[in-house]
């Protein structure tokens, strides 16, 4: 028997006036899992999280926490804690008082509170800042104080609303590792809401990609990246080249007659013969070959321009139809110059056949 999910959405829907924020979403999140809700702003991810915390009540469906129906449980009675996007640190309380707040509400003894606060201060590396007020903290310190406060009650399920959104780029990467480290150490389930695909990819065990209130795809970062199910997911996560055409399927091989030339891919079973199909290829799964190579998955083009990205370059290659393909090539290789004719080459393995 599988273990009880720590958090479960059952056909949950939420409307605000005429807009449907969340539309029939079902998700199960396992204890100790690091889960990311990923999508653009307005896709319903924050509403979904607020329903888990109890700040919004679903119009339909149920929210279960650790197997128990929590749909009608008010926020302060839920065994769930949240780290707010704005951090929501109480401005009139010191860092220590902020961390102690949830413990006092739980009615812990003074000694126990003191010990727990000290533990949290260590965990979040806030030593020496206990007496400071929130406005005396840097952005990173605020973030860690908010995290410490949310974790102080020892919750098994922490919700994090854009936890790194307010940090600058360098600090963000560092903090990603810190968050993952803390999560592994505490063994609590973390549910992160983010619009940043890199953040989701690097931290989460599983990602749910949301679009217009619905789940587009749930899977591990590798699945989401390597096997996106829809064009939406493929395009939302990273850069990708899309080819459309008419497919013929024979055995497990699929041949797409695209306007750039024939493309061969490993076909999923459900693609019917002579139907329109879409194939996606990641830039880093392509390479630039000398002009004149011919055959399947060999597309003739002319280098349009390229952008230097440190370890690699992104080339934009004008293909036969006029479309621009993006190809990543290691910077160590000699770079063809704009105007040079090349062949864009890739393996059938690199091709993903999309649903839509």
């Amino acid at each position: 028997m599988p273990q009880t999910p720590i958090l479960q959405f059952e056909q949950v829907s939420k409307r605000f006036g005429a807009t449907v924020a969340v539309d029939g979403v079902s998700i199960e999140i396992a204890p100790g899992e690091f889960f990311a809700l990923l999508g653009p702003s307005g896709c319903g991810k924050t509403t979904l999280m607020r329903m888990a915390a109890g700040f919004e009540r679903p119009d339909e469906g149920r929210v279960l926490i650790d197997g128990a129906d929590a749909t009608d449980v008010p926020p302060h009675r839920r065994p769930v804690n949240m780290m707010f996007q704005s951090y929501a640190l109480f401005p009139h309380m010191s860092v220590a008082d902020n961390i102690a707040f949830g413990l006092k509400a739980a009615g812990l003894a003074r000694d126990a509170i003191g010990a727990r606060v000290a533990e949290m201060v260590r965990l979040a590396q806030l030593q020496g800042l206990e007496k400071r007020k929130p406005h005396q903290l840097s952005g990173g310190q605020k973030q860690r104080a908010a995290l410490a406060r949310a974790l102080a009650r020892g919750t098994k399920l922490l919700l994090l609303d854009e936890p790194l959104g307010a940090l600058d780029r360098k600090l963000r990467e560092e903090t990603q590792f810190e968050l993952m480290d803390i999560q592994k150490r505490l063994g609590a389930a973390f549910v992160v809401v983010t619009h940043d695909q890199d953040e989701a990819m690097s931290m989460a065990d599983r990602i749910a990609v949301m679009r217009a209130g619905q789940i587009e795809q749930i899977g591990s970062p590798v699945e989401i990246y390597e096997r996106p199910r829809s064009r939406y997911v493929a395009e939302f996560i990273g850069e990708i080249n899309i080819f459309e055409g008419v497919a013929t399927s024979s055995g497990d091989a699929l041949r797409l007659e695209s306007s750039e030339g024939p493309i061969e891919a490993h076909a999923p079973l459900h693609v019917a013969n002579r139907t329109a199909a879409t194939v996606a290829v990641r830039p880093e799964r392509m390479r630039l070959a000398p002009a004149g190579e011919a055959g399947a998955n060999r597309l003739a083009g002319v280098v349009h321009d390229f952008a230097y990205r440190g370890d690699h370059r992104i080339f934009r290659v004008r293909l036969k139809s006029g479309a621009l393909a993006r190809v990543a090539a290691p910077s160590a290789l000699p770079a063809p110059q704009p105007g040079e004719a090349v062949t864009v080459a890739f393996d059938p393995d690199a091709c993903v056949v999309l649903d839509a």
Partner: protein, 259 residues
């Protein structure tokens, strides 16, 4: 920037001169030995002395302070509830009427408010006096209090309350430990505003007062109508000093809080 400096300073100088010259003149001439208000005849504090021996004036000042303190408390209480209703209760039936009743008294001429209050007290046979003035003052000052408190409430980060509830605090704890501490400066300024508006009001008090409840502004008004006297100047200077001191203290306090 430097080119615009001179006109800017001139504007400031003119503006503040206009605002403060009458007040400064009034204070200076309260120390005038002469009974003639605009002719300086040497320094004297005799008018302050005669002020305190004016039993009527002192009695009226006492009444005014009592009315202001009581009505400010009622106004702050009602204003706080009204601010929450406006800011946090969402839509309810007759909300428009409620909003209107909060904002209209801010601008409606006092003569209308006073007159309507007088009529209702007469209509119900309520004899006018101390408590009818308190009611009248509490009514129009609660609207000012509601606006001040509402502004603070609107500027408050809702996620703080959510965070408190998320951390296990019930509605009462959340209100007492999160909302109230942040609202306190607004409550204090709302109370002060209500207190000063009440202390200063002549029109509504005139309509709602009865025998034995003559407020300070009513007393001053009846004397002012008879002409400018150094005694009134002295009285005014004392009031100005009191208000000035209160403003100074509150601004020092709020600066301390900010740092």
């Amino acid at each position: 920037m430097t080119a615009a400096r001179l006109p800017r300073l001139a504007t400031l100088a003119f503006g503040f001169a206009f605002l403060y010259a009458p007040i400064v003149l009034l204070v200076i001439y309260s120390f005038n030995a002469s009974k003639l208000v605009t002719v300086w005849a040497g320094f004297s504090t005799q008018w302050y002395a005669s002020l305190f021996s004016n039993a009527q004036l002192v009695a009226s000042a006492k009444i005014s302070l009592q009315i202001a303190a009581i009505s400010a408390c009622i106004a702050t209480f009602n204003g706080t509830l009204a601010a929450f209703a406006l800011e946090r209760f969402g839509a309810f039936r007759t909300r428009t009427l409620f909003v209107g009743s909060i904002y209209a008294p801010l601008v409606i001429p006092e003569v209308i408010l006073g007159l309507s209050l007088l009529l209702i007290f007469v209509a119900f046979g309520i004899s006018r006096g101390f408590w009818t003035i308190v009611a009248g003052h509490a009514t129009f000052t609660m609207c000012f209090a509601a606006v001040v408190i509402r502004a603070r409430l609107a500027g408050m980060d809702r996620s703080l309350e959510e965070a408190a509830m998320d951390l296990g605090a019930g509605p009462v704890t959340t209100f007492l430990r999160i909302v109230l501490p942040q609202l306190t400066p607004a409550l204090v300024s709302a109370w002060m505003l209500a207190f000063i508006l009440s202390l200063d009001d002549l029109v509504i008090a005139s309509f709602t007062s009865g025998p034995g409840s003559t407020t300070l502004p009513m007393r001053i008004y009846s004397q002012v109508r008879l002409g400018v006297t150094p005694e009134i100047n002295a009285m005014s200077s004392l009031l100005l000093a009191a208000v000035g001191l209160a403003l100074l203290v509150s601004s020092v306090l709020s600066r301390k809080r900010a740092s």
